[in-house]
């Protein structure tokens, strides 16, 4: 592979090429912030099926993927988006209807699992969850695990500290590494080779990106390499990890993108209302997702007024006067 290659693609092509039915996928962001929503909508539009999704708290994106019928297996720490949706609604429905197989971890555990994948080690240790049902109860059966070479045979392994009580620790739980086929993140700035700069919190995007065989980056601004290299202390992901780069303004919409735009309470509230009812949710997808060829079309549908209302104030990075009820 040439390292200076231009990795710029269209979103439709990147999703067609890399997000295959049944593949193992993770998406960046957290609850209602910096989810790669343009990519999520494209995946739903292309009616991808049987995705095995890894999520810590990748709220809105994961719930829409589940609602779109794309997900068969989910390893997750938290299905919710905060106040708008304390429990993700399509997620909850799918679990209760048993159309979705779920394995539960904690946020730290999922983060460590991505970190282990990025580091090239089979596991990392923590003391979190000792004595709890996160260890005792498995969502994926022993049989399912044994038959599926893409997931480890054990959900978690509890181990005595081999350094005899070192650090006042008698036991640790080992969490197994994740190496997704594809990770999709949305960042503020990228260049054509795939160097990435995020602003505000990075969540677990860096670990998810580096753990993945394929990394698709969508970005607000596609810039000259010179621009990013002039201030490398601000860049988190070097280009060697990136596979495809797609410029998608408002690519995290309806979730927030620090210093660019806020989350859209109108979308969030409409989503929550629709998600409670299968028919209304189908209608929601028919309005907001399926009819649009591209994310730009979806934004046209949303309209300039709403996008203007969520534009971030320069002074603080979010929309100060936004009505968030």
């Amino acid at each position: 592979m040439k390292t200076d290659e231009n990795k710029v693609m269209r979103l439709k092509e990147a999703v067609e090429k890399y997000v295959t039915n049944g593949c193992h996928l993770s998406i960046g962001g957290f609850t209602l912030n910096r989810n790669p929503m343009a990519a999520v909508h494209e995946i739903i539009r292309q009616r991808k099926k049987n995705l095995h999704v890894y999520a810590h708290s990748n709220g809105q994106g994961v719930d829409e993927l589940i609602g779109g019928g794309c997900v068969s297996h989910l390893e997750i720490a938290y299905g919710g988006t905060g106040k708008f949706m304390p429990t993700c609604i399509r997620f909850r429905k799918a679990v209760e209807a048993q159309t979705l197989m779920v394995e539960d971890y904690s946020n730290f555990q999922m983060t460590l699992r991505f970190m282990a994948g990025a580091m090239g080690v089979p596991f990392l240790p923590t003391r979190s969850s000792l004595g709890t049902d996160i260890i005792n109860k498995w969502g994926f059966s022993e049989n399912f695990r044994k038959e599926n070479p893409r997931i480890p045979d054990e959900k978690l392994v509890v181990m005595d500290n081999p350094f005899d009580g070192w650090c006042d620790t008698e036991k640790v739980v080992l969490v197994p590494a994740i190496n997704p086929d594809v990770t999709i993140i949305h960042v503020q700035t990228a260049d054509v080779r795939g160097n990435c700069r995020m602003e505000g919190l990075t969540f677990a995007d860096v670990e998810q990106a580096k753990a993945s065989r394929v990394l698709i980056v969508t970005c607000e601004d596609l810039v000259d390499e010179e621009y990013l290299k002039t201030d490398p202390d601000r860049n988190q992901i070097p280009f060697i990890h990136a596979t495809a780069v797609v410029k998608v303004p408002f690519g995290a919409y309806p979730t927030a993108c620090f210093r660019y735009y806020d989350y859209d309470p109108v979308y969030m509230n409409a989503y929550v209302r629709a998600a409670h009812d299968d028919k209304e949710f189908e209608q929601f997808l028919n309005d907001m997702v399926y009819p649009h060829q591209t994310h730009a079309d979806l934004l046209d549908h949303v309209g300039r007024h709403r996008l203007e209302s969520i534009r971030a104030d320069r002074s603080c990075g979010y929309a100060k006067d936004l009505d968030r009820k």
């Binding site: 912030n33 720490a77 106040k83 969850s129 709890t132 049902d133 996160i134 919190l201 603080c316």
Partner: protein, 253 residues
């Protein structure tokens, strides 16, 4: 001065926070309690989010722990690794106080925020742990918000998501957890603590107009009430600062 139940609960939690505490908080009333403490009684407490923000200014109230409002004017913007490593850190972790909520709690302060019913065929699915299990595992002290209902104060949890004292005074040690555990349970009828010896829940106080009997009536298990007193109503200062400084648009209250 008139006050709502939510205001009273928020202020009860805020009173538990001291200067120097690093306060882990989630969404909603838990975040509001942390903001209230900082504005009322613990100006030198530090608000801290599992998403990686430390000492956020919170000029406007966030509606999620990943709200862009928490990223503004912090000490450092990192990520989840930074945040959870801070909680598990042997030095600063001991200064972290967690504020949690859950669907169910038992007498040892263990929490369920995952399912009602059988885990593999649940009647009700909730959000799951998020960072709650991590916080409950690591930090020295946690404050729990709960609604007083029989189906929430359970003899046996349907799923143990976040560890309290597990099965008693030695529970955490036997399981391999660090010391620590739940400190207070703030409900809509009163406040519970935990007996230092048995690690079982006890009633510490009831809200004005409530009796200890009413509280016991809303629990599946029994707790001691002999150390309980009536809780002081919010002061005018507390209420004014809460309303004007923390949530002027009533997004949570």
């Amino acid at each position: 001065m008139e006050y709502t139940l939510k205001e009273l609960m928020t202020i009860c939690a805020a009173r538990e926070i001291n200067n120097g505490d690093i306060v882990f908080c989630g969404t909603g009333i838990s975040m509001l309690a942390a903001m209230a403490a900082k504005n009322i009684n613990a100006p030198d407490s530090v608000i801290f989010f599992e998403t990686g923000a430390i000492d956020s200014k919170l000029a406007h109230i966030p509606l999620a722990v990943a709200d862009p409002r928490i990223m503004y004017h912090t000490s450092a913007n990192g990520g989840l690794m930074d945040a959870f490593c801070t909680m598990q850190n042997p030095f600063v972790g001991q200064r972290v106080v967690g504020i949690l909520g859950a669907a169910q709690i038992d007498i040892y302060g263990n929490l369920n925020s995952t399912v009602i019913g059988d885990y593999n065929a649940p009647d009700v699915r909730f959000s799951g742990s998020g960072g709650a299990c991590d916080v409950a595992s690591f930090v020295s002290r946690s404050i729990i918000f709960m609604k007083m209902e029989k189906r929430k104060f359970k003899k046996k949890l349907d799923y143990l998501t976040s560890p309290g004292y597990l099965d008693g005074p030695d529970g955490r040690k036997k399981a391999g957890l660090p010391p620590g555990g739940p400190d207070k349970v703030i409900t809509d009828m009163g406040v519970m603590g935990f007996d230092p010896d048995t690690k079982q829940m006890i009633l510490l106080g009831w809200f004005p107009g409530i009796t200890p009997e009413q509280i016991l009536d809303n629990m599946e298990f029994e707790i001691q009430t002999d150390r309980a007193v009536e809780i002081a109503v919010p002061t005018q200062t507390e209420l004014t600062l809460l309303r004007e400084k923390c949530d002027p648009h009533g997004l949570i209250l």
